[in-house]
């Protein structure tokens, strides 16, 4: 596993304490795992995602990520309806390891309440949390 200083933290996303990120583009929010999360998990071998149309509340478990070490649940940073899932992960789960902020995104969501994004951390706050 890498040192925190060797990890990549995007400026353009908001982070949760469970190491997911959320990024608003027009009125759709894309969700993924942070570089810290993918590094901790190790090489990812399977990603289980919800179905388009599923409706979740902030904090709900919406899928799981399996590495050779363990299976970890992933939790939603905000409430909303799933409008797209990253189908590429079915055959190429390693995208989460290799490109966690772009090609390795997990789902896209139509949010219920954009104000929930304000509860998430920016890069500086997330780094502070990681450094404890």
């Amino acid at each position: 596993m890498k040192e925190i200083s060797d990890l990549n933290f995007s400026e353009n996303v908001k982070y949760t304490k469970d190491h997911e990120w959320a990024k608003l583009n027009k009125d759709i929010v894309t969700i993924g795992l942070s570089d810290y999360a993918q590094d901790q998990l190790g090489e990812i071998v399977f990603v289980e995602l919800p179905e388009v149309g599923d409706i979740f509340t902030k904090g709900d478990e919406f899928g799981s990520v399996e590495s050779v070490k363990a299976v970890s649940e992933v939790y939603l940073p905000i409430s909303g309806e799933v409008v797209e899932i990253n189908g590429a992960l079915e055959d190429n789960p390693e995208l989460v390891n290799e490109d966690c902020y772009e090609g390795g995104w997990l789902i896209r969501l139509k949010p219920d309440n954009l104000l929930e994004l304000d509860d998430l951390m920016d890069k500086a706050a997330y780094l502070d949390m990681l450094k404890g």
Binding site: M1, V68, E94
Partner: protein, 485 residues
């Protein structure tokens, strides 16, 4: 350093039997038939099955070579945490092979099976004595199957009470199969965290226990190898809200003759005969997961039950509240014979001593290695101890690398990356059957590997190097599984 058991050696490649097959080759020449040929009913005649054709020597070498690729407890120390890979005494096999047991037929009926029934009846009572429960079923086929039987009993109990409940509390130090067993019964798992000392705090249980909760599943000793010291108080909290306590007895090897779970307030408990009671484990199974219950839960036990009237034993199926059958016939009888042989060989004092030594051995390893590997919970342990790779991370060496390297030293790796409550866990359970000399060799091997982690980390990344196959691409195998030969 002592000479380690692992070394180089010639290992044979061995093709599949089909590849060795040659037309007409066979093991035994049968004498010419000396009875008149008779015509078979045409409807019964067809092509003969295609089987490989081999000499006896071909077959003997085939299986001998395959066996040499294997690592078993008969070849070396197998400190697989939470699995209790103790030695399986050969007398168990001798007793199970006795013709009266080996040839017993499950359809023979009570009157022709008195010896087998007596053994099962006595074994139920011996296990009841060891665990402190008034009744035991031997039916479940293995540990998780025992958990399911136990959860079905809890489910049936609440149904009988008139109100089904929806949730089960499961701590983070429970066995991984517990939530699956609860889910199969339709319960939602409520996960709770253990406290700073690595054991459950009563307040944590009290905070989530309510009248919608069917009970709690506790592994004691837990998967950190620690005794749940607050177990009595936790049982009282759960009982006060009408719930039941399921005990996962997979770690019973630490407490035989010392603590009876039935006396702590636990209502249902499963045992693993293939762990604690020395029957074959893993590929050498099958397993067996007997379940003991408190008096109140006896009506729900699976059928058939075994009863004794004066001098005769009989199967009883008329139990209106039973959860039904958990297995065809009566469970894995051959395994019961082995466990019975073990219990009688050891006696009460012997089992007590076995638990004491299992705990002593684990503590000896913990103390000997706690300056070498990181020990997240530094307190007296039970039958196993849990380290991790925190000190090796700076060299980019992981628990997995060290575990693989142990194979080169001639030891089976311990359990790794479980329990999840410890990051990158390295979980060692030596059992009572390893001598101090063997354990010292293991400790030396771990120390040597930690030294290598510092000096030649790239070596550990490639390990194992002496095995027939070296480091496998586990990620590739999981991402692109090849499911056909």
């Amino acid at each position: 350093m002592n000479k380690q058991p692992g070394t180089r050696g010639l290992i044979f490649n061995e093709p599949q039997l089909w590849d060795k097959s040659r037309k007409g080759r066979c093991a035994v020449s049968l004498p010419r038939a000396d009875v008149k040929r008779c015509q078979l009913d045409a409807s019964l005649v067809g092509e003969s099955p295609e089987l490989p054709q081999l000499s006896e020597l071909d077959v003997v070498r085939h299986y001998t070579r395959l066996s040499q690729w294997n690592f078993g407890v008969d070849s070396g120390m197998y400190p697989l945490g939470s699995c209790t890979m103790k030695y399986n005494p050969k007398t168990n096999e001798v007793q199970a092979a006795r013709q009266g047991f080996a040839s017993a037929h499950p359809l023979a009926g009570d009157e022709f099976s008195q010896g087998a029934l007596k053994l099962m009846y006595d074994l139920e009572h011996l296990l009841g004595e060891i665990t402190g429960f008034p009744a035991v079923t031997l039916q479940p086929a293995a540990g998780a199957h025992g958990e399911l039987a136990g959860m079905l009993i809890i489910h049936a109990y609440h149904a009988k009470k008139g109100k089904q409940r929806t949730k089960i509390i499961i701590p983070d130090t429970a066995h991984g199969t517990n939530p699956a067993s609860a889910s199969l019964c339709g319960y939602e798992s409520i996960n709770i965290k253990s406290g700073e000392k690595g054991i459950l705090e009563p307040a944590t249980v009290a905070a989530v226990m309510d009248e919608d909760t069917a009970g709690i599943m506790i592994t004691n000793p837990n998967t950190l190898g620690l005794f749940e010291e607050n177990i009595k108080e936790i049982c009282e909290i759960v009982h006060a809200k009408g719930g039941l306590v399921y005990g996962d007895g997979a770690n019973m090897n630490a407490i035989m003759g010392i603590v009876k779970p039935g006396h702590l307030g636990i209502d249902v408990l499963h045992l693993n005969l293939h762990k604690t009671f020395s029957t074959p484990h893993g590929g050498g199974g099958p397993g067996s997961g007997p379940v003991g219950v408190s008096k109140e839960l006896i009506p729900f036990l699976p059928v058939p039950r075994i009863e004794k009237d004066l001098t005769r034993y009989r199967f009883v199926t008329e139990c209106p509240d039973t959860i039904g059958r958990m297995h065809t016939f009566y469970g894995h009888f051959g395994i019961m014979v082995r466990a019975y042989a073990y219990i009688l060989s050891m006696g009460g004092k012997g089992l007590h001593r076995a638990s004491q030594l299992a705990v002593l051995n684990a503590n000896y390893i913990k103390e000997s290695l706690k300056d070498t590997l990181n020990l997240p919970y530094d307190r007296p342990c039970m039958h196993e101890c849990v380290f991790n790779d925190k000190h090796q991370q700076v060299f980019h060496v992981t628990t997995m690398d060290m575990a693989k390297r142990l194979l080169d030293y001639g030891f089976h790796p311990p359990t790794v990356y479980f329990p999840l409550v410890v990051d990158a866990a390295f979980m060692v359970e030596p059992t009572e059957t390893e001598s101090k000399e063997n354990i010292d060799q293991f400790i030396d091997a771990v120390k040597a590997i930690v030294q290598e982690a510092q000096e030649t980390p790239e070596l550990l990344k490639k390990a194992p190097l002496l095995t027939k196959v070296t480091r496998l691409d586990e990620v590739g195998a999981a991402r692109k599984p090849c499911l056909r030969g």
